[in-house]
C-alpha cells in the first residue's frame, strides 16, 4: 500500500478548466472520499490519479515516485467503476484473473488469489457465472474482487454504489468499510452521496467547481464547515442558512461584527415559548418518520427553515411556531461566505 500526493493538479478540456489547482496529500492506508455536486470534478480527479486522463499541469506522486506521465497500467492502482465495467463475455473467475494473466503471474498463484478474494467477497459459488447472471450487488463485489486480486498500491472507487438500490447500498457500504478494515489499503472513493462520505471516510475532500473547498474528518466538516458551500453540502437535511438581520433577540447580539449569514443545523433549532424565541416560523410541511419529525417552515421574508424534532409532532401545516437556536451550535459566515473563526461562536463564549 502507498500514499499519494497531488501538487497543483489542473485539467482543462479545450478552454474549460475542470480542475483548477488541486493540492492534496493522502497517507498510506487512509480512506479518503471525494465528495461534491455533479460536475465539481471529483470523477475527473479520480481518473487523473488513475492515469485514464492526462493532467494539464501539476504532479502526481505515489509512494514518493512521480507518476504524472506513467501509463495507467504501470501506476499499480486498481479501479472499481460506477458501471462495474466487468468483461461481459468472461466468467467471474476470468474477470478476476484477467489482470493477473496480463502480468504473467503463474496459474497456481492466480487461482489462489482469485479463490481468496472470492471467499472474502462471498463469490465462491458464482465463479463460473457470467456477469449477466449476477445481481447488481454481486457484480459490484466481482468488480471489487477484480481490484483486490491485483494487490494494488491504491484502490480507486468511482461512485461504486450508485447503481444499487437503497437497501443493497447500505449493505455494500458496510462491506466496504469492513473490507478496508481487513485489508487496510489506501482507498480513494468518489461519491455525491454524503451519507457514504460520512460513514466511510477517514477524511473527506469536498470539491466544488474544480477546487477543494475543505478537507477534514467527517465530523470536522459537519461541526466546523469552512464556508457556506460546505455548510450547505454536508448534512442532511442541509444546514439552515439565515441572513443575520432576520434573527432577533440575544442571538442577533451575538452575531454582530463581520457575520452576514447565520448557520444552524435542523437538530439545533428548538421549539420554545414566544418570549424566548429567535424567530417565529410558519409550518409548510411535516414529515413524520416515527422516531423523528422534520418540520419544513418559512420564516420572515420567506426564508426557509428546517427543524428536526425527536419523536412525533402534533404540528400541522399552517401552524405558527416560535423557535430558538441552540447557542452552542450556531455557525456564522462573513459576506464572502467564509466561516468566522473560531466556530461555533457561542460554544466559545459559553465555555
Amino acid at each position: 500500500m502507498a500514499g499519494l500526493e497531488l501538487r497543483g493538479i489542473r485539467k482543462d478540456y479545450g478552454g474549460t478548466a475542470v480542475l483548477k489547482g488541486i493540492d492534496l496529500s493522502i497517507a498510506d492506508g487512509e480512506f479518503v472520499v471525494f465528495v461534491g455536486p455533479s460536475g465539481c470534478g471529483k470523477s475527473t480527479l479520480l481518473r487523473v490519479i488513475a492515469g485514464l486522463e492526462t493532467v494539464t499541469a501539476g504532479d502526481i506522486h505515489i509512494d514518493g515516485t512521480e507518476v504524472t506521465r506513467t501509463a495507467a497500467s504501470d501506476r499499480g492502482l486498481a479501479m472499481v467503476f460506477q458501471s462495474y465495467a466487468l468483461y461481459p463475455h468472461m466468467t467471474v473467475s476470468q474477470n478476476m484473473s484477467f489482470a493477473l494473466e496480463n502480468m504473467g503471474i503463474a496459474k497456481a498463484e492466480i487461482s489462489s488469489r482469485v479463490d481468496r478474494a472470492a471467499r472474502m467477497l462471498r463469490l465462491t459459488d458464482y465463479l463460473q457465472r457470467k456477469p449477466a447472471a449476477l445481481s447488481g450487488g454481486q457484480r459490484q463485489r466481482v468488480a471489487i474482487g477484480r481490484a483486490i486480486v491485483r494487490d494494488p498500491k491504491i484502490f480507486l472507487f468511482d461512485e461504486p454504489l450508485s447503481n444499487l438500490d437503497a437497501e443493497l447500498r447500505v449493505a455494500t457500504r458496510k462491506e466496504l468499510a469492513a473490507l478496508h478494515a481487513e485489508i487496510g489499503g489506501t482507498m480513494i472513493y468518489v461519491t455525491h452521496d454524503q451519507v457514504e462520505a460520512m460513514t466511510l471516510a477517514d477524511r473527506i475532500v469536498v470539491l466544488n467547481g474544480g477546487r477543494i473547498e475543505q478537507i477534514g474528518t467527517p465530523l470536522d466538516l459537519y461541526n466546523r464547515p469552512a464556508n457556506l458551500f460546505v455548510a450547505g453540502f454536508i448534512g442532511s437535511p442541509r444546514m439552515n442558512l439565515l441572513p443575520t438581520e432576520l434573527v432577533r433577540g440575544e442571538a442577533a447580539g451575538d452575531v454582530t461584527g463581520r457575520a452576514a449569514t447565520l448557520g444552524i443545523r435542523p437538530e439545533h433549532v428548538e421549539p420554545c415559548q414566544e418570549a424566548e424565541a429567535d424567530l417565529t416560523v410558519r409550518i409548510d410541511l411535516v414529515e413524520q418518520l416515527g422516531g423523528e419529525t422534520f418540520l419544513y417552515a418559512t420564516g420572515p421574508n420567506d426564508t426557509p427553515l428546517t427543524i428536526r424534532c425527536d419523536g412525533q409532532s402534533r404540528l400541522v401545516r399552517g401552524d405558527l411556531l416560535p423557535v430558538r437556536f441552540s447557542r452552542d451550535h450556531l455557525h456564522r459566515f462573513d459576506a464572502a461566505g467564509l466561516a468566522c473563526r473560531p466556530e461555533p461562536l457561542l460554544a466559545r463564549s459559553h465555555s
Partner: protein
C-alpha cells in the same frame, strides 16, 4: 380534450405553431378516415382489424414476391418455350435431374449442364474471397473509424458513399478505369509500365470482380461493425487499460468477443449477397473471359432470356435450387440474430 381545445385556441408562436399545424393535419386526416374504418370494424369485428391494415402490403408482397415464386416453380416442372404456364407441358423433375446430372460434382465438364456447375464453382470462389476480403476490410475500417481521428465524420461518409450508388453505375465506373484503354492502364503506361488486360486474364477478372464488390458494399458492413464497436462500453476498455492489457490482447480478448454478434451478422449477410451476385460482375466482366466470372444468377439469366432458345424451365429449376440455398442461409441468419437478441 380540454388541453387540445386550449392548444388550438392558443396564439401560434415558434415551434409550438409548427406542432399545432402538424397536430391539426393529423386530426383532420383521422376525422376523414374514421367513419369508413368504424364501418369496416362493425362489419368484420375488432379482432380482424389488424388484417385490414396488413392487407395492402400483403397484396403487394403476394403479387410481386409469392406469385413469381409460384410461377417459377411451375416453370421448373414444365417444358417447352411457351411463356404461359397453361401452354407448357408437365415434365416433372426433368430439369432438376438435368442440372444435377454430374459424373463428379467437382468436375464441371463431367456434368450434363456444365455451365450451371461452372457458375456454381465461380460463385463459390467469389463468395470465399469476397467474404474474407469484405469482413477483413470492413473490420479494419470500422476499427480505424472508431478511433478519435481527425476528420472522422468525413471518412465515415466517404466509405459509405459507394453504398448509395447503383451496382450498375459502380461496375461501369470501374470498367472505365480497368478496360484496355482505361484510367489505370493510362497511369501504368505513364509510369513506364505495360498495359494489363485485366478482363482477358481469368485471375485478374475474378480479382477485380471481388475488389469492385468489396469497394461498393464495404461501407454498409463497416457501418454495422462500427455500431457494434460503439456499443462496447468505454468503461470496459478503461478497465482493460487499468488491468495492463496490451493492445493486441485488448483486440482479441475484449473487442473481438464483444463484436462477435455483429461480425456474425455481417458474415451471413455477405454470404447471402455473394451467392446472389449478378449485376456488378455481369456489367464489369460480362461473365468472361469465357466463363471465368460467370455466376449462377448469370447462368439463370442467360438460360432464360439471353440464349437463342429460351429455356425457362431449366432456368426456373436453377432458380429454385438457388432459392433453397438462400432459404437455408436466411434461416441461419434469423437463428443467429434471434439468439443474439435473446
Amino acid at each position: 380534450m380540454t388541453d387540445t381545445i386550449r392548444s388550438h385556441g392558443a396564439p401560434a408562436r415558434g415551434p409550438s405553431a409548427a406542432a399545432a399545424v402538424t397536430t391539426g393535419s393529423a386530426n383532420a386526416l383521422m376525422r376523414l378516415t374514421d367513419p369508413p374504418m368504424r364501418a369496416v370494424q362493425r362489419l368484420i369485428g375488432a379482432s380482424r382489424m389488424p388484417y385490414v391494415f396488413l392487407l395492402p402490403n400483403l397484396v403487394f408482397f403476394g403479387l410481386f414476391v409469392f406469385l413469381p415464386i409460384g410461377i417459377n416453380i411451375v416453370f421448373s416442372v414444365t417444358g417447352g418455350t411457351a411463356l404461359f404456364p397453361s401452354e407448357r407441358p408437365y415434365v416433372g423433375a426433368e430439369h432438376y435431374a438435368r442440372l444435377l446430372d454430374c459424373g463428379s460434382y467437382l468436375e464441371a465438364a463431367s456434368c450434363r449442364e456444365d455451365l450451371f456447375w461452372r457458375g456454381v464453382g465461380n460463385t463459390l470462389t467469389f463468395t470465399v474471397f469476397q467474404m474474407v476480403a469484405m469482413v477483413l476490410f470492413s473490420l479494419v475500417t470500422a476499427l480505424v473509424l472508431n478511433r478519435p481521428i481527425r476528420g472522422r465524420g468525413f471518412f465515415r461518409a466517404v466509405y459509405f458513399f459507394p453504398v448509395l450508388l447503383s451496382p450498375v453505375v459502380v461496375a461501369l465506373i470501374w470498367k472505365w478505369i480497368l478496360q484496355r484503354d482505361g484510367l489505370l492502364n493510362a497511369v501504368l503506361t505513364t509510369a513506364g509500365g505495360e498495359k494489363i488486360l485485366f478482363f482477358v486474364d481469368p485471375g485478374w477478372a475474378m480479382f477485380w470482380a471481388v475488389f469492385v464488390s468489396v469497394w461498393a458494399h464495404m461501407g454498409f458492413y463497416t457501418l454495422i461493425l462500427l455500431a457494434g464497436l460503439q456499443a462496447i462500453p468505454r468503461d470496459v476498455y478503461e478497465a482493460a487499460e487499468m488491468d495492463g492489457t496490451r493492445p493486441w490482447r485488448v483486440f482479441h480478448r475484449i473487442t473481438l468477443p464483444l463484436l462477435w454478434p455483429n461480425l456474425l451478422v455481417v458474415l451471413v449477410l455477405v454470404l447471402i449477397r455473394s451467392v446472389q451476385v449478378f449485376d456488378e460482375v455481369f456489367v464489369l466482366t460480362g461473365g468472361g473471359p469465357g466463363t471465368a466470372t460467370m455466376m449462377v444468377v448469370q447462368y439463370i439469366y442467360t438460360t432464360a432470356f439471353a440464349n437463342q432458345v429460351q429455356n425457362f424451365g431449366l432456368a426456373g429449376a436453377a432458380s429454385v435450387l438457388l432459392g433453397a440455398v438462400l432459404f437455408v442461409l436466411t434461416l441461419i441468419q434469423l437463428f443467429l440474430t434471434r439468439r443474439r437478441a435473446s
